[in-house]
Symmetry: C2
Subunit: 198 residues, 2 copies
DNA sequence: GTTCGGTGAGAACGATCGTTCTCAGCGGCA
DNA sequence: TGCCGCTGAGAACGATCGTTCTCACCGAAC
């Protein structure tokens, strides 16, 4: 089985602490205290802190994307509503009191320069997220480029909401995304000349 | 005088190292070796590592914004050209081999959860950058909201370029920004109904 | 010439942290 | 009963790191 309960308890504690205080700001003894798992068993599941960090990022990657996709699929009935639904999901995330930005951006900023594993995990996560948005864009009738632009809006909203401490960036990003999407979706019907490439 | 040469040498070494490896990934002895300044004199200028970090962020904030403004003012002749010029400047930054994202986003991700000083420095820097973009937008005839949306594109481009390792995000962001800007600038002349609020 | 404040070089100190070891206890099993 | 493997609790080890101290040295002031 893939989900040993003690392993999950360790990862639960590690995720909360790493996300809140940064990876280097959390010692293994703190994870021991928070999880209630003894240091010996902790090292049985994760032979080094680096392994625990990789598992933390892997699980968060899967859960984060799954949660986003689940929200989009249950709350949006038409392809045109899916991208706005992404920003609604982001907004509810930003409003959480413990929100502190994207865990992968934070990990990359902290360790991406020295740990190829962390840098690769961030790259994979972002590539999956952006590919999902590009797919939503094309399924709504827009180009992949518009999907990439909407991904930039989502990324910017995540960091801006984190640093500013307010969730308002999601509304601005949602408005801009909707505009880019509808303009591109209708580009064959209403050629205004506004979408010339730079 | 504000620019003691040894102080600058210390900050030069600290900036390069902190940016490349993260703040906690660089010990004071490494900064001593890189700057050629002895540990004793280092602590005379900066009584603690926290003070050095604050000075690093303060100087980078000022220089970064000054460099951006200088590029925009010298390369753009009309208000409409200023926001595209911002993304040209970003692109040349992204193309540098040592590019590793925004130093303030990285510092916030690493220490924002435990250091109020670092969190406040990141907030001030981002607020100044976004206010500058909002000013560019309004001086080009658009609304402040469009300026805020363009700021999100710029933020997203910074992190995407860093994590993906390619500078292509700046082109996508520039295209989207130009579109948002021209649409909003011409909104009184060409009312298409596309800019209804979400 | 002597004193004195400041210097460079580096050792040293104290705390933290990742990791491993010790040791007593306990359940399973012949 | 006696052995064995695993456990929890925590001490211990070794490395790193921020910070301070030692000590010999030098230039300037009297």
């Amino acid at each position: 089985m893939d989900t040993d309960p003690t392993r999950e308890r360790i990862l639960d504690a590690a995720e909360e602490l790493f996300y809140a205080r940064g990876i280097q700001g959390v010692g293994m003894d703190v994870i021991r205290d928070a999880s209630g798992v003894t240091l010996r068993r902790l090292y049985q599941f994760f032979p080094s802190k680096g392994d625990l960090v990789e598992a933390y990022l892997a699980r968060r990657d899967a859960r984060w994307l799954d949660s986003l996709v689940a929200h989009v699929e249950t709350s949006a009935d038409t392809p045109e509503e899916r991208i706005p639904a992404v920003f609604d999901w982001l907004e509810s995330w930003f409003a959480r009191p413990d929100y502190r930005g994207c865990a992968f951006v934070n990990s990359f900023g902290e360790l991406g320069g020295t740990s190829p594993q962390v840098a690769a995990a961030a790259r994979r996560h972002k590539e999956a997220f952006h590919a999902y948005l590009r797919g939503l864009a094309t399924s709504a009738g827009a180009t992949e480029d518009v999907g990439a632009q909407i991904a930039l809006l989502a990324e910017g909203a995540m960091t801006t909401a984190a640093i500013s401490g307010t969730p308002s960036a999601s509304r601005q990003a949602k408005q801009a995304a909707r505009l880019l999407l509808t303009l591109d979706t209708h580009r064959t019907r209403t050629p205004t000349g506004a979408r010339t490439a730079g």
